[in-house]
């Protein structure tokens, strides 16, 4: 009896909490389909309205929305691809050449830097960007973050687990070069690990707000979070437009996430559970 009761109470609690957690998302979609005046009426709308197209036109009149969306797509994709290469290549080196002088020391440096806050170096970092002539360009959002210490650590663990040492020897005997071993043998074996890291890096880059805020000045160059937050500071905040923009920007990510959720969850957990 007691067991059944605690089971039902658990279900009730978990479902209530879940409703609270998804309510803001649902309401965001609802607001994006209602007119400006309905949103400011009392009580606010709880059901979808019919103003989706009008809201969309209003949004497009205020910001170059498609341009901003494209900036986000291209910045996040290039950043993720670069992270995949830089981190997995370094991890391959750390995992395979354990006898190389300096391997342990450099690896420790990488691990330690996972805990170092990027904000600590933000001022000299900004001056570097200025010196490189990268202010108001997308380069600072793509290149510097490619050295992602967690990515190296994550790929290192994955390679250690997925690629047995004997395989390297076998390839070596067959006459493959070290670079070919990386491209043709290691990469195919660690594809799930790369997938998880790709999702994580893409999300990080897609959601970044602070660096675009510091670096970008031109509205046409803004990424989505910056473009939409900028709308709130302008006169007569267009709540419906912002909610619609937010909905559009998270929708593809939701779909991708639901399709790849198994890999994503495995990616999130195995990195920290094993360490």
């Amino acid at each position: 009896m007691e067991k059944i009761a605690s089971k039902y109470i658990s279900y009730l609690f978990v479902i209530m909490l879940m409703s609270l957690f998804i309510f803001p998302l649902i309401w965001m979609f609802i607001l994006s389909t209602n007119s400006k005046t309905d949103i400011y009426s009392f009580p606010p709308p709880l059901l979808p309205g019919a103003e989706l197209l009008t809201n969309f036109e209003n949004l497009l009149a205020q910001i170059p929305f498609f341009m901003n969306l494209w900036n986000s797509v291209y910045v996040a994709t290039s950043n993720a691809l670069l992270i995949l290469f830089v981190c997995s290549f370094a991890a391959y080196g750390f995992a395979r050449f354990t006898n190389a002088p300096g391997n342990r020391a450099i690896f420790l440096l990488v691990i330690a830097s996972i805990m170092v806050p990027p904000l600590a170096g933000i001022i000299p970092w900004f001056m570097e960007m200025k010196w490189l002539g990268w202010i108001d360009t997308h380069w600072p959002l793509i290149i510097p973050t490619a050295a992602y210490p967690f990515g190296v650590f994550w790929m290192y663990q994955y390679i250690k687990q997925a690629v047995p040492d004997e395989l390297y020897e076998a390839c070596k005997i067959d006459g493959a070069s070290d670079f070919r071993i990386y491209i043709q043998m290691v990469i195919p074996l660690i594809r799930p690990g790369l997938g998880a890291l790709a999702i994580l890096s893409f999300l990080n880059s897609w959601q970044n707000f602070q660096l675009p805020l510091i670096i970008l000045n031109t509205t046409e160059k803004f990424t989505i979070p910056l473009a939409l937050t900028n709308l709130t500071t302008q006169s007569g905040t267009d709540v419906a437009g912002i909610m619609l923009g937010t909905s559009i920007s998270v929708l593809p990510i939701f779909i991708a996430f639901i399709l790849a959720s198994r890999h994503f969850i495995e990616g999130l957990t195995s990195g920290s559970v094993k360490s």
């Binding site: 089971k7 658990s10 957690f21 998804i22 803001p24 998302l25 949103i39 009392f42 009580p43 606010p44 290469f85 830089v86 290549f89 370094a90 391959y92 395979r96 050449f97 190389a100 002088p101 391997n103 990488v110 805990m115 170092v116 806050p117 990027p118 904000l119 600590a120 170096g121 933000i122 001022i123 000299p124 900004f126 001056m127 200025k130 510097p144 973050t145 490619a146 050295a147 210490p149 897609w206 959601q207 602070q210 805020l213 989505i224 979070p225 937050t229 500071t233 912002i242 937010t246 998270v250 939701f254 996430f257 639901i258 959720s261 969850i265 999130l268 957990t269 195995s270 920290s272 559970v273």
Partner: protein
Amino acid sequence: MKQVAGSISHRMKQNKMFYISVAPFLILFCMFSLFPIVASFFLGFTKWNGVGVPEFVGIDNYTQLFNDPVFIKSIYNTIYIWFFSTILTLGLAFILAYLVNHYIHRAKGFFRVVFLFPLLVAPALTAIMISVIFSTNAGIVNSFISLFTDGVFSYEWLRSQFWIKPLIVLIIIWRWTGYHFILYIAGLQTIPSELYDAAKIDGANVIQTIKNITLPLMAPILLVSVITATVGGIQVFDEPYVLTQGTGGVNNSGISMGMYLYQTGFEYFNFGLAAAQSYVLFMLILLVTLVNARFLRNRT
């Protein structure tokens, strides 16, 4: 000339590929992470507006900061936000993971996915969403409260010096509970069920079982989770910035260290002072992380 096998230069030559493979990472890492952090330390002892040569001023920046009531407030706010968001997020995630793991057998996969949804929305956009939900005239929270009061309830949540910090904490809880929940679920599944059976035979109750079996065995995951929450929490920027529209809130009641650093550096161009601020932030993270690690290690 033949080299002695095993000498360092010989081993380096043999492992040439190691240096090639880590080179792209190391070059980027040194240029854009290591160098800025070291340079920031030195910049913290100078007065500089970004043009010309930095002027050495010793520890003046640090004395100025600790006499600046706004800076002190930003430290207080940051610790407040970090502390409450960490305790509440991790506590909620643990309860949720424990319930789902032990009592819920249907739709486990569904719950794992749903609680991760908030992670998909950028923190800046989440902050916009929360500010709409808590807005004065059209907010659903005020409308809901109005159902129980005479007339229209129109409390100004975002202008409240008391509520601005809990709202920031709320955004962090909403965003991160699912992430820690997933970590804990994975951790709970690694605990063998025989241990629970043995505890049951010994007559242990739920609290005793959690205290003596679950928590000690989960200590490594808890540590990862606390450190993640700390490094992220102390750097908090997006949420207070968007929620207060860049002002820091009425009377700076919502300003975080990250935000004040942004204002000093990129609004007032006081680069030396901002660098000093970034080092106080760095030291704070270091301190809290070391205390966390020691605390969690002692418990196991």
